[in-house]
Symmetry: C2
């Protein structure tokens, strides 16, 4: 059986629904159909650590149902439909209906691949324990929430000290658990500058997280009910009632690979700036793609919701006949680690060196508001600067309130390739409840100027 | 008597000490001497509304004493010294020592005029009442604090609904007073967009401030002790135990004018981009000067501490032999009105029209964080755009937390003459505790794009 469809979208988490909606909006005559293997679409995966902590109802993270996408956005949604194969020669996809188990082939004029990413695993014995969780889908979130509710774990082991590891440390501490964070390096949050990472470690320890450094996880010891009871590492064995794996994600590219869609150096799908793959009529968006780093001009793998949304809009618009382009991303990320606000924009000093820049770094700590105002807090800004061009390549901003939004202002400077002199001339707001006479951004730029 | 001095500075509030310090730092051999007619130098005048409200000790707003400036910055400071005349032909200033009443003439090689501004008055009968205050100097602040302490006024009348009027409304309400705010127009805060001004009015009224609209103050009725008891306007008579005049400021230019230093269309001193006046060897900085508006390219009067500091650095550096330039300001201001955070960057829609731009305005309201996160608040962004160039000329940002720092990001866009398309491509942070997937800035830019 073959149904003729104009635009098909594979993947329903974030990029897929966005791309489908944009396509339907761009060409009102397009038939847009979206396939998702799970039951849920359009899910706020980034908010799940806060739902797990009980700060919000997990149900509220489902932003669209198949029905609402159909009614509001004119998209046909097939959940519990697993796309098994893309057949570019026939311009079809082969889909298994997971309810009926039947296979159906759908023709496309344009196809958008938004297959997302999968949580990395360790591949060590015992990892299949029923109290070992990743956090990459709604099912993962619901499984954790249910397990916490029914089994009230007391001792949590988190493996991996990146962004999700930070957020889950805070969430599980908020639920009253003892938290051990096992990390393969000396410091958490690789990719950030050394001082930032040291500050994060202090914040974790200050908030009762046991950080196990330079630790390789070797096995999970299960009891006879299939529950992991101990995590065995080269740095000792740690009791666990619940284990969270936060080891990053990898792009889901099997479908693409089988269809001869080209993958890049990062292992993710290569697209042009119109989000088109090397295969005619096939676009890709979201976590399954690599993107252009605006600072280095090179491809990077940056599985962020912001990038997913943007590439989805571009793919959706172009699949529907538009001419939109995506110029790339700088990397703009933030995380709250207990009382510490942290943001990174642009590239790190290590990346800068590896890319041949003549790197100068400069770090300042300044008041978020006029010092004598109540609520004034310290903010540290690390700038990574190219000595030749005097352009800012990256920044870490951390400390009290206002660190993250200030990072955005520096992010714009990075994206626009402004020099440290340009930043020093920024006309920024001074108002006692909000910012000091010399905003930390200006303090940072003026200090850096002395080194250039 | 004549003492030969290299660099003399007139005025000790904000720009003067900054300029002097920069000059001394730039040329370690320079003799730098600063003259101030009052007893206090280096005073945090912008924080005084918060000191009046009791949020901080007023004494902490004195950032430098003559002694600390001398020791730390190598500046000789003469307080209670009133400069009576600048004599360019002789390169001298004539100074009255207010202690001894003697006149002394000081020679300069370079002179920096930082005479600041004076609070505007109404010039109506009874304005000299001893409970009528302005807020432009440390003496003003101390007088208000002492009066409030000793006389415990219950009914306050504030005249003038600009920035200081807003801050003083909140401060006096915090002290438990009834506050009546008399304003000459229908809405407070001219210069902001209409919707912003209407929102401010709502916030004032929500917080118990009686806003008297379109009201011209005609007289102050004093009792026989010299206290104003009633404020008489064309919109009624209002009982008062204390009166605050917040009618803006005007540049102090008498000295400059007498010395044939050129004044501009704004009534303030004209300088070139090196902060040099038309008179050889004489620089000017701070509230006594006009500055170049980066958006219009025309002079404006912008008596802000940020501009004062910057022009002071430029004047100080150049007076000491440097070659620094000041390219101008965009206007970047913010105020907290009770629970409402408000910022303005760039020019208003009215200014834009008056300057011949083809004006398009666009307004959106969006969440400060992901909607389901605790603490998410609404933020409104009004953009003022030039249809021809697609550049953003100005913005109002108001609402909950994060409005002001977001305005800075838009301010950078304005300063760098970025288009609405550039802004729509900003790679901004998404992180549930800090910002939603589509930051309000991006929502604003995407909405505005539809209108261009």
């Amino acid at each position: 059986m073959t149904n003729r469809r104009r635009i098909l979208v594979i993947g329903g988490l974030a990029a897929g629904p966005s791309a489908a909606a944009k396509a339907a909006r761009t060409n009102l005559n397009a038939e847009v159909m979206l396939f998702e293997q799970s039951e849920t679409i359009s899910y706020g995966i980034c908010e799940t650590p806060y739902a797990i902590a009980g700060m919000m109802d997990e149900n509220r993270l489902v932003f669209h149902t198949p029905e609402s996408l159909r009614q509001q956005k004119n998209i046909q949604v097939k959940t519990l439909h697993l796309v098994e194969r893309i057949v570019p020669a026939k311009q079809t996809i082969v889909v298994r209906d997971l309810r009926s188990h039947s296979l159906v082939e759908y023709e496309y004029e344009k196809l958008i691949v938004a297959t997302g990413s999968a949580s990395n695993k360790l591949a060590v014995p015992g990892e299949n324990g029923r109290n070992v969780f990743t956090l990459g889908s709604r099912d993962d979130a619901i499984n954790i929430i249910n397990y916490v509710k029914t089994e009230t774990p007391k001792q949590a082991v988190i493996i991996g000290g990146g962004y999700i590891g930070m957020e889950m440390s805070e969430s599980l501490r908020a639920l009253g658990m003892d938290v051990t964070l096992i990390h393969i390096l000396r410091l958490p949050m690789e990719g950030l500058e050394l001082d930032t990472r040291e500050r994060v470690l202090i914040e974790l320890e200050k908030n009762g997280v046991q950080f196990v450094t330079n630790a390789q996880t070797e096995a999970f010891q299960q009891d006879n009910t299939g529950k992991v009871r101990h995590v065995i590492t080269n740095r000792g064995t740690f009791a666990a009632d619940i284990v969270i794996l936060s080891l990053g994600v990898s792009p889901n590219v099997r479908l693409a690979c089988d269809a001869k869609i080209r993958l890049g150096v990062t292992g993710a799908i290569v697209t042009d700036e119109r989000q088109q793959t090397n295969v005619d009529g096939i676009y890709a968006a979201g976590d399954c793609c690599e993107v252009r780093n605006i600072v280095t001009g090179k491809p990077m793998y940056l599985p962020l919701a912001t990038v997913a949304s943007r590439t989805a809009w571009i793919a959706g618009e172009n699949a529907a006949g538009g001419r939109a382009v995506f110029k790339g991303a700088i990397r703009a990320v933030a995380v709250k680690v207990f009382g510490l606000d942290i943001a990174q924009v642009g590239i790190s000093s290590e990346e800068a060196k590896a890319n041949g820049f003549q790197v100068v770094t400069s770090s300042i700590t300044a008041n978020s508001k006029v010092g004598v105002m109540p609520g004034s807090e310290k903010i540290t800004i690390d700038l990574i600067i190219d000595k030749r061009s005097k352009c800012v390549l990256g920044a870490n901003v951390y400390g009290g309130h206002g660190a993250v939004l200030r990072a955005n202002t520096l992010g714009v400077a990075i994206q626009q390739k402004l020099t440290i002199g340009d930043i020093a001339r920024f006309d920024l707001i001074y108002s006692p409840p909000f910012a000091p006479l010399w905003d930390p951004i200006l303090v940072a730029a003026n200090e850096a100027k002395k080194k250039i």
